[in-house]
C-alpha cells in the first residue's frame, strides 16, 4: 500500500513513484558504465561546445528500431554511435535447432521488405550441401519472383527516401506499386509479406492463372509507371539539392568498408553477385549492371538514381523470364527428412541491399551445426558513422535513407 504525498508538496528524490530527470538512466545518451574500448572512451568524452543527442530507438526515420547517439556541435554532427540489438532474436541460434525445411520460415523476417531473397541464399547453401539439382523451371520462377520483389523493394526505398526528406506524397505511390506486386505474389504464395515460398530443391507451387493475369496486367504498364515515378522526384529541386554532394563515398573506401549492393555500385564499383559470381539462371539472361560515380565516387543522389536504374533492368529480366520460362517440374525429388553429409557450404545472392550470404555447416544430422547469415544492411550501416561526420543533423536521415538499411536484417 502506497501513501500519496499531500497536495502541493514537491516531488522529492526519495519518493519512489516519481521519476526525476536525474534518475532516468535507460535513455540517457552517456552509458552508465565506464568505457569498454578506446573508441567508446573517445566518443563519450565531450569537448567544448559539444553535446549528445539521442535519436531513436523509436524514431520514424531510423527504418526500424535503431538508436543513434549523435555527438553534435550546434547543428553539425561531429560523430555518431549507432546502438544495435533492439530487434535481435538470435536467428542463427534458432537455425541450429530447427531442421533444414523449418529454417526457411526462420530467416524470412530478416529483411522483411524483400523476404524471398532471405530464403534464397540459405536454400542455395543447403542445395550445395545436399548436391541437389534444381529444376530449370523452378530457377526461372525464383528469378522472376525475386526480381519482382526487387522492384517493389526499390519502389519502397524511393518512398522512404522522400519521406525522410519531408515529402509525404511519394510513399503513397510506392505503396501502390508494392501492393500490386505483393498481391501478385500472394496469389502463388498465399502470403503478402513473409512468403515462405522457396524450398530446398525448388519452389512451393507452380505459377497459377491469377498470378499470370496480374503480372501481365502489371507488365503492360510497368515501364510507364517507372517513368512516372522518376518524374515524381527527380525534377524536384529541394529533393536534389539535399542529396547532391552529401555523403560522398569513393571506390576504394567503399570496398574497404566491405559495402555491397547499390551502395557499392553507386561508388563506381561494378560488383553485382548476379554477374560477379553468377548463380541460378542469371548467366542466360541479358541485363546490365548500372554503375554511377565512377569518376570520383557517388553521393546520396547517385545512390538514389542507381536504384531507379536497377528497376529498369529488373523489368527487363522479368520480361525475359516470361519469354524463356521452360515447362517441367518445380521441385526436385527429395526425401522428407534431409541429412546432408558433413561439410560446409557458402552461397550468396544479390539482394536489393547487396550481397546476402549464408554459410552452413552440416554435421550429418537434420539440423545445421552452424549457420551464419551475412546481411548487407549490417555492413552498409557502418557507412552512416563514416559519411555523417561534418554534416547537419537533418542530413543524417537523408544519408541513412540513401543507404537503405532494414533493421530486421541488421539485428538478426
Amino acid at each position: 500500500m502506497t501513501t500519496h504525498a499531500p497536495m502541493g508538496q514537491h516531488a522529492s528524490e526519495d519518493d519512489p513513484r516519481i521519476m526525476l530527470d536525474n534518475q532516468i538512466g535507460a535513455f540517457e545518451a552517456v552509458p552508465p558504465y565506464p568505457p569498454r574500448t578506446e573508441r567508446e572512451a573517445e566518443f563519450y568524452s565531450l569537448r567544448d561546445g559539444e553535446m549528445f543527442l539521442n535519436m531513436g530507438p523509436q524514431h520514424p526515420s531510423t527504418h526500424g528500431v535503431l538508436r543513434v547517439v549523435l555527438k553534435i556541435n550546434g547543428e553539425q554532427v561531429v560523430d555518431l554511435d549507432p546502438v544495435l540489438g533492439y530487434l535481435h532474436r538470435g536467428v542463427e541460434k534458432l537455425c541450429e535447432t530447427s531442421d533444414y525445411h523449418h529454417i526457411i520460415s526462420q530467416v524470412d523476417p530478416l529483411e522483411y521488405v524483400s523476404s524471398l531473397f532471405m530464403e534464397w541464399a540459405p536454400v542455395m547453401a543447403f542445395e550445395k550441401l545436399l548436391d541437389v539439382r534444381v529444376p530449370r523451371r523452378a530457377e526461372y520462377i525464383r528469378v522472376l519472383t525475386g526480381e519482382l520483389l526487387r522492384v517493389s523493394s526499390h519502389a519502397l526505398f524511393q518512398g522512404w527516401m522522400a519521406l525522410d526528406l519531408g515529402g509525404l506524397t511519394p510513399i503513397l505511390y510506392s505503396f501502390i506499386e508494392r501492393d500490386e506486386i505483393v498481391e501478385m505474389l500472394a496469389a502463388i504464395t498465399g502470403q503478402r509479406m513473409l512468403f515462405n515460398y522457396f524450398r530446398i530443391g525448388g519452389v512451393n507451387g507452380d505459377l497459377n492463372h491469377e498470378f499470370m493475369s496480374r503480372l501481365g496486367d502489371w507488365m503492360s504498364r510497368a515501364a510507364k509507371q517507372h517513368e512516372a515515378s522518376i518524374g515524381l522526384l527527380n525534377e524536384n529541386e529541394i529533393f536534389v539539392r539535399r542529396m547532391r554532394g552529401i555523403g560522398k563515398l569513393d571506390k576504394d573506401t567503399a570496398l574497404r568498408m566491405a559495402v555491397t549492393g547499390p551502395n557499392l555500385r553507386a561508388a563506381g564499383v561494378p560488383f553485382d553477385v548476379r554477374r560477379a559470381h553468377p548463380y541460378s539462371v542469371y548467366p542466360e539472361l541479358e541485363f546490365d549492371i548500372p554503375v554511377r560515380g565512377t569518376r570520383d565516387g557517388g553521393d546520396s543522389l547517385d545512390r538514389y538514381l542507381l536504384r531507379l536504374d536497377e528497376v529498369k533492368e529488373s523489368i527487363r529480366i522479368i520480361d525475359q523470364c516470361l519469354h524463356n520460362m521452360p515447362d517441367g517440374p518445380v521441385m526436385a525429388r527429395l526425401p522428407r527428412l534431409l541429412r546432408p553429409r558433413p561439410g560446409r557450404a557458402w552461397a550468396a545472392v544479390e539482394a536489393p541491399r547487396g550481397l546476402y550470404g549464408t554459410y552452413a555447416i552440416s554435421d550429418g544430422t537434420d539440423q545445421p551445426f552452424r549457420m551464419k547469415i551475412h546481411d548487407p544492411s549490417f555492413v552498409n550501416m557502418q557507412l552512416v558513422g563514416m559519411l555523417m561526420k561534418g554534416n547537419l543533423i537533418a542530413d543524417t536521415m537523408a544519408v541513412m535513407a540513401s543507404i537503405d538499411p532494414v533493421m530486421g536484417g541488421i539485428d538478426k
Binding site: G85, K93, R256, T260, H277
Partner: protein, 182 residues
C-alpha cells in the same frame, strides 16, 4: 571449381597451410593457423594475381573442440568463392588478429563475432558487444550455451535458466553436446 587457383594457393602458402586446400562446387577452402592470418590475408588482398578485394563474410565457428574464424572472399581473378579458415583457437581463450587494417568494414563483423563467441580480435579498436546488452556475460552461439527448449533433446538435461547457468563466472558444468570434425 577453379583447379588453377588451388595450385596457385598451394604454391604461394605452402608453409602456412594447416590442411589440404579443398574444393567443392564453387568454393575453394584454405585452412591456415590463426597466427598467420594477417600475413595470408594481406597477401590475398594486395598481390595483383590474387587481388581478393571483396570481403563477403566473416563468421565465427565453435566446433565444440576449438574455435575458428571463417572469411569468405571474392576476386575477379577466379570464378570461385574463397573461404579462409583460421583454425586452432582454444575454446577457453580464443584470440586472433583483427582484419580492420585491410577492411575497416570488418569492424562490426568482428564485434558481432566477439558478441556471439567471445573471440577476441586483437587490434580492433571498438571490440564491444553489438547485439546483446553491455552487462550480458554469456556468448550465445557457443556450443555449451543451450536454448531452453533444446534441453528436451537430451534426457536428464533439464530446463535451466540460460543466462544463469552459462555465465562463465557462475557455470557449474560446461558441456558440449554437439561437435563437428575440424
Amino acid at each position: 571449381m577453379d583447379r588453377l587457383l588451388r595450385r596457385r594457393l598451394e604454391a604461394r602458402f605452402a608453409d602456412k597451410l594447416t590442411g589440404p586446400v579443398r574444393q567443392r562446387h564453387d568454393e575453394t577452402e584454405l585452412r591456415i593457423g590463426a597466427a598467420d592470418l594477417t600475413e595470408v590475408m594481406t597477401a590475398l588482398h594486395d598481390e595483383p594475381d590474387l587481388d581478393f578485394a571483396v570481403l563477403a563474410d566473416l563468421a565465427g565457428v565453435d566446433t565444440g573442440n576449438q574455435m575458428q574464424v571463417t572469411y569468405h572472399l571474392w576476386s575477379a581473378t577466379t570464378p570461385d568463392w574463397l573461404r579462409v579458415i583460421a583454425d586452432g583457437l582454444p575454446r577457453d581463450n580464443p584470440r586472433i588478429a583483427t582484419l580492420t587494417g585491410l577492411w575497416p568494414g570488418a569492424e562490426w563483423m568482428e564485434r558481432e563475432t566477439y558478441d556471439m563467441f567471445g573471440i577476441i580480435f586483437e587490434g580492433n579498436r571498438d571490440l564491444r558487444r553489438i547485439y546483446m546488452p553491455p552487462d550480458y556475460t554469456s556468448f550465445p552461439l557457443r556450443k555449451d550455451f543451450y536454448l531452453a527448449d533444446d534441453a528436451a533433446r537430451s534426457p536428464g538435461g533439464g530446463v535451466r535458466h540460460m543466462e544463469q547457468t552459462h555465465a562463465p563466472s557462475q557455470a557449474t558444468e560446461r558441456v558440449v553436446r554437439r561437435t563437428v570434425k575440424a
